[in-house]
């Protein structure tokens, strides 16, 4: 119904694009490349989900790329020093959460605008990383890639993890009181306070969650290749914001559904290969991403507040 208009229209565009690809470029659907493409997008999905949560709470976090990069290198170093993966994974999540906590404290505790705070932590983190690594890749030991499961099984595992997380978070955002609090704070922090919610604590929580997810995503990314690229997180924030905005998350907070974000990311990751298959050059990726962000917010403006002006 009209409540789901936003998500359904994204789904419709996605379906349209997939059918166009099916007609004009059936090779897009050949299993092996498709599987690897989907698996490689799982880390971005995890980050986009966190970003959506932060944005629903009326904030933004553009430092995710740095959190992602720092945790990736930290985890890689630990793994290279023979620390087992089951121990590294929680450590990575914890590290991410810690960075998120710093952002959260600066935003919720000091009342600073999240855009500037996370811009500052983005650069601090990025430069710390290059100070530390000087662009060196870290080679991972045997048995880390694809969790030691072999490529196809590993890819399926990753996709399953991604789907599980979407389902879990979409469920929690709706059915846990905490999820509702985030929507409440994003919709109207003052009314939320009157309803007994503590907006500061909620905002802090969303940043911690964002950091933890970025750390988790870093590990999910790291298992896909034999080496850790310290620059792997660059530009991740834009992709995550784009997926959230396309999926119907309002930049002004309070609106959006996580499965819409899932569709948004699918749409975003299909645009580029679709263009390649339809013989548009790949260099347009960022331009198209920017255009799509702008189109989505302009569309929301006209749809959401049509009668306001």
């Amino acid at each position: 119904m009209s409540r789901y208009f936003r998500e359904l229209s994204v789904a419709a565009v996605l379906a349209l694009m997939l059918s166009a690809l099916a007609v004009f470029a059936p090779s897009f659907f050949s299993p092996a490349p498709l599987l690897s493409r989907l698996a490689s997008e799982v880390p971005a999905l995890v980050v986009a989900l966190g970003m959506a949560v932060v944005m629903i709470g009326r904030q933004i976090d553009i430092s995710v790329g740095s959190i992602f990069g720092l945790t990736a290198v930290l985890s890689g170093t630990l793994l290279a020093n023979q620390v087992p993966l089951p121990l590294v994974l929680p450590l990575a999540i914890l590290t991410g959460a810690l960075f998120g906590g710093i952002n959260g404290w600066l935003v919720a505790g000091l009342g600073l605008p999240s855009i500037v705070v996370t811009l500052a932590t983005l650069v601090t983190g990025r430069e710390l990383l290059s100070l530390w690594q000087q662009g060196r890749f870290i080679s991972l030991p045997e048995g880390v890639q694809w969790f030691g499961l072999g490529q196809t099984t590993g890819q399926w595992t990753l996709i399953a993890v991604g789907l599980l997380l979407v389902t879990l978070m979409a469920w929690a955002s709706r059915n846990l009181a905490a999820g509702r609090f985030i929507y409440a704070v994003g919709s109207d922090p003052e009314a939320a306070r009157l309803a007994g919610v503590r907006p500061g604590a909620v905002t802090f929580g969303t940043f911690v969650l964002m950091g933890a997810l970025a750390g988790f995503a870093a590990v999910l990314n790291l298992v896909q290749s034999p080496q850790v690229d310290p620059k792997a997180g660059g530009g991740l924030e834009l992709k995550a914001i784009a997926a959230a905005v396309i999926g119907g998350v309002a930049v002004t907070g309070g609106r959006g559904r996580l499965w819409g974000v899932f569709l948004g990311l699918l749409l975003l990751t299909t645009i580029n290969p679709a263009l390649t298959y339809l013989r548009v050059e790949a260099y347009w990726e960022k331009a198209i991403q920017g255009t799509v962000i702008l189109l989505a917010v302009v569309a929301d403006r006209f749809q959401g507040n049509g009668g306001a002006k």
């Binding site: 409540r3 709706r174 846990l176 905490a178 929507y183 994003g186 919709s187 109207d188 939320a192 309803a195």
Partner: protein
Amino acid sequence: MTPLLQLVSVTKSFGAVRALKGVSFDLKAGEVHALLGENGAGKSTLIKVITGAHRPDAGTMAIAGNAIENLTPTAAQRLGIACIHQQPTLFPDLTVAENIALRLGTTRSFARVNWPANRARTAELLGRIGAAIEPDAEVRSLSMPGQQLVEIACALGAGARIVIMDEPTASLTQKEQHLLFGVVRDLKARGVGVIYISHRLEEIFALADRVTVLRDGESIGTREVHQPSGSGALAGASPSGASPVDAPSGEAPEGQSDRRGACPTIDLTEAELIRLMVGREVAAIYPPSESDPGDVVLSIHNLGCSAGGVKNVTLDIRAGEIVGLAGLVGAGRTELARVLFGLTPADAGQIRLHGQSITVCSPQEAVAHGIAYVPEDRRRHGIILEMPVAENLTMAIHRRLFPGSWLKLKAERHLALDLIRDLGVKAYGPEAPGGSLSGGNQQKVSVARWLATKPKLLILDEPTQGVDVGAKSEIHRIIRRLAKDGLAVLMISSDLPEVLGMSDRIAVMRGGTVVATLPGGTSAHEVMATALGQSAPEAAA
């Protein structure tokens, strides 16, 4: 029997303004207690004290006999006090069921929300008040009354013992009003105490058991209202709910006075209520009118603006004339001013200035035409608190004072000093930040800014609201002087004595349009009756 709620000698001041001067008030369980008074009489302050939003300076408050101190909004909610505001405080992006879940649900973060149960409860609560609202509807898609009904459902669901309704019917249709009355009676039957604020006297006669009139922060008196006999309660109420105008006000209580033999019987009539609200005769504190109205400066004809809720306004204002614009909150007075100043441009009708037809699509155009507007919300719109007085004063005359955009700080300072002296602004200098001034002086700065534009028409919106007595009479003298100098003044005010004391003519608005233009000597009673929508035959005769 201990009253459900009892306030004794509550006072509350905001700076120099004493909003409540020792008000006592009580509410019994199962009672509808109406609160009546002009705008600014202290009703909302009193409500905010009860809901914990304001802490009283002195006085006591007790709920069911237990003294309450340091009340906070959350504590008030926990004690079972619910307030249904004119502007609902819901989450616009969420659905009705989600809103109710947030309001009534747990505050433990990881508790599960049981949606089927919640939706059923929402439907049950909405059904109980007869509201035809889908639990899954988004709140922003609901009309204002719809949102109000959701608020009431929240209050019901929270098991409130004391429900405060602040002009709940202001934006309701007749049918919705009727439903609402049923809800209020239902609450009453459950032993809930209802504080009911309304300007519509017929509602008070239909619903209230008692009525307390506030004026100038004081309680003028509490009166029993004789409800129509028990069996006929619904029947008796429906005609006044359905057709408010023809309810013969004086007759309703007659013949029933013996039902409550215990209390001294006063036949409370609408006339008496209006007299209580208006109170004192217009004192001679207002400077006499010396104006000699000249040519028509502003002439508006059938002016309308659907976005602002203004329709079919026709009004003339002459040079040297002060036209008071009276009416209740929500009657469309500020909205009319916003249309004339180009903030919400008109979409129907004509504006003529000195006979020339003009359009005003932005404040810049209004300024260019010589229309000035001193807004109601001084701190948000009237001046910029962080900027110096001098910069505030010259803000509307950038083009004239600073040709070619170059600031001339010396000229600005001179002009500012002149204006400060002219209007008697008390500030330590032109460089003092606007926010450091007292309310009255801020208002003078706001007025002076517009005088500097040398306007043809000056619109003043609540020029003395929240201003202490001394500054108030100074502002009145300034307005008089301006009119004497030939300025056309349109003065919006909810302070009835002010309207009566200052105006050469009084235009009364109701429901977005000017319903009557009364001469200067009109009685307070008649103005109030017109604003309320009563025919008030005795005054007109």
